[in-house]
Amino acid sequence: MGNHSDGSPNHSGTVATAGQNEVEKFQDPGLPPHRLRLADTDPKAAKRAERQVALLFGTSVVGTLIFLVAYFAIDLGDGTGIATVRLQNMLLGLGTAFAMLGIGTGIVHWAKALMPDHEVSEERHAIRTEEDRQAAVRIVDDIAEETGIKRRPLIRNTLLGAVALAPLPALAIFGDLGPRPDDALKHTMWAPQDGKLKRLARDPDGTPIKAADVTIGSAFHVIPEGLNELHEHKLEEKAKAVVLLMRLNPESLNPSPGREDWAYNGIVAYSKICTHVGCPVALYEQQTHHLLCPCHQSTFDLTQECKVIFGPASRPLPQLPIAVDSEGYLVATSDFKEPVGPSYWERDEHERSINA
């Protein structure tokens, strides 16, 4: 480089300013003359500023009192409405604000009006001296020399190898943070249990839905029957199994080959978990037959088997094959034919093994 600054300011070793010094420049006139404030010359003004500061500190005392009164006088017991909580919160805030702003503005006013406001100039010292630098370099060299690390590559290389491997146990020890994913994401609760098909039930109360109750244009938030009775992993199961149920005019559905019997009389069920990053696709636009995810606005078209027509999702929502049981209730004839929710590395593998 040949461009090392010794650390002292103004010692330009560069050419970035080439040509600058050839032109005559304005000289620095130095600090402007100090201008006195009113309080410096007029004792009355100084006295006034003093009283103002004291008044501000006094305001702070009032603020503290407001806080204490609001804290002790307002009781939050059973049955207090949200209005009381809000009132107390407001008064506590007001009290603290006065207490703090009183002190703060008082001190700042004091500093600005009464403390000396002479700006002073102080020399900057070099961060380091050249002598120190040379000594430090020498020390580093000496230390390296005394360890002999350069002369003994065997020591150096084995040390590097050992140090490189030593953190591995520190990583491995986190192995029990969670179970292996295995097939967990492949299945949902909709899989028939002991040969019994799962009924579609209303979210959140869990009552089963009769096909006759589903009128054209209506939509239901659906959970599998028995979800509410689970004792553990309820939220985990729900996070995969929630479904949207809608009924359209059967003509407007265009089922692809193999999916003709997945709907019943215009009633279709699709996973509610967005294939983008997993938000619930909660908005059903009844007129356009679009499903919209409120998180990132992925839009799915029901009439095209929930194909993505807008937004960041890449895959259609998985469809749940449904039918009606002997009592007229809607049931899932099988689990989803693909993993639901956001994509993951093994997703395609899982889908292939489901359909194999």
């Binding site: 560069t14 130095g30 909580v85 002190i103 959140p204 990053v277 908005l283 606005q297 956001p342 590395w345």
Partner: protein
């Protein structure tokens, strides 16, 4: 080390009480050297230096209010039925974490206030760190010798966002739960190890029963400890370097002009803590933030429309929204060799943030390489006097803002009654051309301001006084500047492009040629500061030619 005070040497007795206390401490820890060094240390004063102070003080407020909250918060995800005094949620099944957050809000006196103080100051913390960084960038305060402190500051920005996000998720309400859901989706999109990381973070399938406890530990221990460590390093370096100062008469790279720490600067800075606290308290008292009781407990099924993350996560969320998942019939998500590559999630989640932070971390070195400027800088640049840097900064800022605005695309659509799709298409366009427009416009504005400065330096300021000359001409009288005000307008350095130089072997290599091109781009458009000769000419002839000649001085030193 015996006999510190011998009978022969009479012990020093201070005359004042303050002196005696100082002496007491000094005799035991030897603090007088430190006090001598720092007691009157000079700090430059400027309103824009307060952003860093706001950041520091909001962190102190976070520690204070956060400690209070930990006394009542229970990070357990065990199921419980709410029995507190908020009627609408009575007997609702929820996690202990959410229930205890409700208790803090409704059954602990002052709990809601502390929650709101904590949340508002968290928002303020990230905001002030960001604005402080913008100030440092646009004034060139990151230049040698402060590059490492810039890096520490950038780490602090990331840590402040990490602290914010881990805290945001703790109440386990519907809104934050959906936020975690999104994080889970993003993590799962990571190739090869994504599914494992997700299972390890959540202790199994999402949402599991572990994640709140784990985030809690990160939020109250690891992240704040790291922030504290970084703050100590940051301030230590500020002391080592001494503060930068704005350019002006009497200020140069060899001095610091300002108020002594004691009493003025300490009083102002100390008083400012109380002001920040007071403003946060005012916001907490009057403006509701994160009303978790309205959202309900987390449930994977419902979600409300128009949901927003805290502001600092907005740019990532916005990038997620802007990315199209399908282009025509082509799916952005690809299956290669039987494995899934979710580019529609991976790219927006990692690439823009990655570019922003990489450029941010490296910028001091990038500029140093282009300009070959190895000098120490303690006097700041006025942003207009570094037009290209200012333009680069604005391009990055606008890029960030486009993504940030995209996080509210649905709200923009509903508030202004426009189509959501159109808003997205426009923002997608702006994502690409916004930074370019910002760059060009900013650079032109900076150059125009420089010309304005020249004009004022040479001809004085407009007085608004119209005078009719004997021969009938009307002119506006210009009042000449005093030398101090003028120096502020002319006392800057306007480097010209630095052509490629041969290296030690006498060869101009490719890298050096590239550097010379960038230097050309960086410095070619410049307005040279007015010179005494020009001032003389302007006064002598009362004419405008002098400025014109200065303006067109596009120095191409090749």
């Amino acid at each position: 080390m015996s006999a510190v005070s011998t009978p022969n040497a009479p012990a020093f007795v201070a005359k004042t009480k303050g002196g005696r206390i100082t002496n007491f401490v000094d005799e035991r820890v030897g603090g007088s050297g430190m006090l001598r060094e720092f007691g009157r240390k000079v700090f430059p004063d400027h309103w824009s230096f307060m952003f860093g102070e706001v950041a520091l003080y909001s962190f102190v407020i976070l520690l204070l209010s956060g400690t209070f909250l930990t006394f009542f918060f229970d990070p357990s995800m065990a199921e419980t039925r709410y029995q507190g005094s908020y009627m609408p949620l009575k007997n609702v099944e929820m996690s202990v974490a959410y229930s205890s957050s409700l208790d803090i809000s409704f059954d602990v006196r002052g709990g809601l206030f502390m929650r709101q103080v904590h949340h508002w100051s968290a928002l303020l913390f990230v905001a002030s760190v960001s604005v402080h960084m913008l100030r440092v960038f646009f004034t060139g305060a990151f230049r040698k010798p402060r590059e490492m402190n810039w890096v520490v500051g950038s780490v602090l920005l990331i840590l402040s966002m990490a602290a914010g996000f881990t805290g945001y998720s703790l109440p386990d309400d519907l809104l934050s739960g959906n936020g975690l859901r999104i994080i889970d989706g993003v993590i799962k999109s990571i190739p090869v190890i994504g599914t494992y990381i997700s299972f390890f973070l959540f202790g199994g399938e999402f949402p599991g029963t572990m994640v709140i406890g784990r985030l809690y530990m990160l939020h109250i221990l690891l992240v704040p400890a790291l922030i504290l460590l970084m703050i100590v390093m940051h301030l230590f370096m500020v002391v080592v370097h001494k503060h930068t100062q704005y350019p002006g008469p009497g200020r140069n790279d060899g001095n610091v002009v300002g108020y002594p720490l004691g009493p003025v600067y300490a009083a102002k800075a100390g008083g400012f803590f109380f002001i920040v606290f007071g403003v946060v308290a005012l916001m907490a008292g009057f403006f509701t933030i994160n009303p978790i009781w309205n959202y309900g407990p987390y449930d994977p099924s419902p979600v409300s429309a128009g949901t927003q993350p805290d502001w600092y996560i907005g740019f990532v969320d916005g990038a997620l929204r802007l990315m199209p998942g399908t282009i025509g019939n082509w799916s952005v998500e690809q299956v290669w060799f039987g494995q899934v590559f979710s580019f529609n999630v991976l790219v927006p989640a990692l690439v823009p943030a990655g570019i922003l932070f990489t450029v941010m971390f490296m910028y001091p070195w990038i500029e140093r390489w282009i300009t070959k400027d190895d000098r120490e800088h303690h006097v700041l640049d006025r942003p207009r006097n570094a037009p290209t840097r200012t333009a680069i900064g604005m391009a990055g800022f606008v890029w960030y803002c486009v993504m940030w605005a995209a996080a509210g695309s649905d709200l923009i659509a509903t508030h202004f009654h426009v189509s959501l799709n159109d808003v997205t298409y426009w923002l997608r366009t702006l994502f690409f051309i916004g930074p370019i427009i910002a760059f060009v416009v900013t650079k032109r504005i900076a150059l125009a301001l420089q010309r304005k400065d020249r004009e004022i330096a040479l001809h004085g300021r407009e007085t608004g006084r119209i005078v009719r000359l004997p021969h009938g001409e009307f002119i506006e009288v210009h009042a000449p500047l005093d030398e101090y005000k003028r120096y502020k307008l002319v006392g800057f350095e306007s480097p010209s492009p630095l052509p490629a130089e041969p290296n030690a072997n006498g060869v101009v290599d490719k890298k050096e040629k590239r550097r010379a091109k960038l230097s050309q781009w960086f410095f070619e458009d410049r307005v040279a500061p007015a010179t005494p000769a020009e001032l003389e000419a302007a006064h002598g002839h009362g004419a405008h030619e002098a400025i014109e000649s200065g303006e067109t001085q596009k120095t191409l030193s090749r």
